[in-house]
């Protein structure tokens, strides 16, 4: 049997989880708000902890180790915090501009390879050698890429032969959307199954899960039928 700590973790977790699931009922409820604010509060606390630790471990420890350049991070950081006083908020524009510039630089420097050149290179494939299956695969890939790229042309009117190519490209795109949707569903179902597994293994957790489900469902239905749901849901 579990100790009291473990038991409390499962009881509180299962109950709050079911409160969160109550959003599926389609109406806002105090149970959902309880779960939402609990998560929001603790998650913000977690964000504070993570960032303060980052400032310490990367910033302070780094500066102490002689990496004085990092003190610019603190200077620019203070310039941003000045925004708390709206009158001086313009001071924060420089650190924001630097962050934005380096963010774009960091992203764009590799995306040209992974997102463009490598994708062209990957489409240049053998179309006349290999097994029947390989040929089918290679031709399909080449056709899909060549037919869907024109669909993404925005400055040319898609009519005539180009229009037909783009139309076929659009159809091919919908086939891929269907396949992709199904794959994504598998993933999401996996998340839910995995979560439920956490509350059904080992066996002693099962009654807690089932009871939490029944309590929250009964509560929300009862509140809804007695018109208390709207009156107890927080305002925004």
């Amino acid at each position: 049997m579990p100790d009291i700590i473990e038991l409390s973790i499962v009881v509180v977790g299962a109950f709050l989880a079911m409160c969160m699931f109550s959003t599926l009922y389609g109406k806002s409820s105090p149970m959902y708000a309880l779960a939402e604010e609990s998560y929001l509060g603790f998650a913000t606390g977690l964000t504070i902890v993570v960032n303060v630790l980052y400032l310490y471990n990367t910033g302070i420890v780094g500066i102490r180790a002689g990496d004085w350049v990092l003190s610019f991070g603190f200077l620019l950081g203070f310039m941003i915090v000045v925004r708390i006083f709206p009158k001086y908020s313009y001071i924060s524009r420089i650190p924001i501009a630097i962050t934005l510039g380096s963010g774009l630089g960091l992203g764009l420097r590799t995306t040209i390879f992974t997102g463009f050149l490598d994708q062209i290179r990957g489409t240049i494939i053998q179309l006349f050698s290999g097994s029947a299956k390989t040929l089918l695969y290679q031709w399909t890939i080449a056709i899909c890429v060549l037919f869907t790229l024109p669909f993404f042309l925005y400055t040319v009117e898609l009519k005539g032969p180009l229009g037909w190519v783009a139309k076929i490209g659009e159809y091919l795109m919908y086939i891929s959307f269907g396949a992709s949707f199904a794959q994504t569903f598998m993933g999401r179902l996996g998340l839910f199954v995995g979560f439920m597994q956490y509350y059904t293994v080992p066996d002693w957790k099962i009654p807690i899960l089932v009871l939490s489900m029944i309590i929250v469902l009964a509560l929300i239905v009862a509140l809804d039928k007695t018109n208390l749901l709207a009156r107890l849901t927080p305002e925004e």
Binding site: V50, T110, F185, G190, F192, F195, Q197, V201
Partner: protein, 289 residues
């Protein structure tokens, strides 16, 4: 219109416009039911999982593997069978392993993971410091990934507990070149950055990703940037089957099967309702009937 027509129409209408909460309720039942009372349906192994297994099989005791837990705790729920099975293989091959984390919620995963593999680790004398290290939440952003790829020693000075990495197997890791394999268990937080800063330079990288990421990751697999992709929980179950264990992934497959079949049933029902009610009604409205 006859009475039977009226009745038939109302059935189609129901099939077309039922309350979506019915789907929600039934999905709960078909998932929780088999988890409480397993059926043990058989499964097959896909080529993707086999490829992933083959990459892990090439590892040796001199290799250094960087395992990246690039997931929230919620994502771990889907990835865990693949995480445990992959780590099991790394331990069996006695390769050195460093665990890096890219989300604060994942910081408690190493405890759960190594707890689940304790017996195997004891059998292979796989000990902390000598065989593996947990670096903790070191990947907060792309900047940190870039730093570790370029100057590993400058970036990683200590482990999760604050103990210096000097004197451990990680001392020989200077940059991306010294990592034999990256195993990224990912929901997509920073796996793109890891790929850009490590795999694109030449580090071998395999990915155990959530279902929604599979098509995207396959593109990188096809261009050779990634060496293998393990497709989510089902991939985890298949990897378990390849290494001959019955783990969490295998046990979840009944719920998985029933969840999919339920959705297929609803698609069929929806289309019966559409052709029996919604479509004729729309046509009637168009023709002014």
């Amino acid at each position: 219109m006859s009475v039977s027509d009226e009745k038939e129409k109302s059935i189609f209408r129901y099939l077309s416009e039922y309350d979506r909460r019915i789907i929600y309720f039934l999905l709960f039942i078909v998932v929780v039911g088999p988890l409480i009372s397993p059926i043990a349906m058989p499964i097959s192994v896909s080529p993707d999982s086999k490829q992933y297994y083959d990459v892990l099989r090439t590892l040796g005791s001199n290799d250094i593997v960087l395992t990246v837990l690039d997931t929230e705790f919620s994502g771990y729920m889907e990835l865990q069978s693949g995480v445990i099975a992959s780590t099991r293989m790394i331990i069996e091959k006695e390769s050195k392993m460093a665990v890096a984390i890219s989300h604060p919620e994942a910081t408690i995963i190493p405890d759960i993971l190594f707890g689940a593999l304790k017996d195997l680790m004891d059998a292979h004398h796989y000990t902390y410091g000598d065989s593996y290290l947990v670096l903790g939440y070191i990947y907060q952003n792309e900047a940190s990934v870039a730093s570790s790829a370029e100057d590993f020693q400058g970036f990683v000075r200590q482990d999760w507990q604050g103990r210096p990495i000097k004197g451990t197997f990680l001392e020989q890791v200077r940059s991306w070149k010294d990592i034999s394999l990256i195993v990224s268990h990912t929901t997509g937080i920073l796996s793109g950055s890891v790929m850009n800063h490590f795999a694109l330079r030449g580090t071998r990288m395999i990915v155990n990703c959530i279902g929604g990421m599979i098509p995207g990751q396959k593109t990188y697999l096809n261009t050779g940037i990634l060496k293998a992709v393990l497709p989510a929980m089902r991939g985890g179950a298949e990897l378990e089957s390849l290494i001959g264990i019955r783990g969490l992934g295998t046990k979840a497959m009944d719920a998985f099967t029933l969840g999919h079949y339920m959705l297929i049933a609803f698609i069929i029902i929806g289309n019966i309702g559409y052709f029996g009610y919604a479509r004729p009604r729309a046509q009637k409205a168009r023709t002014g009937g």
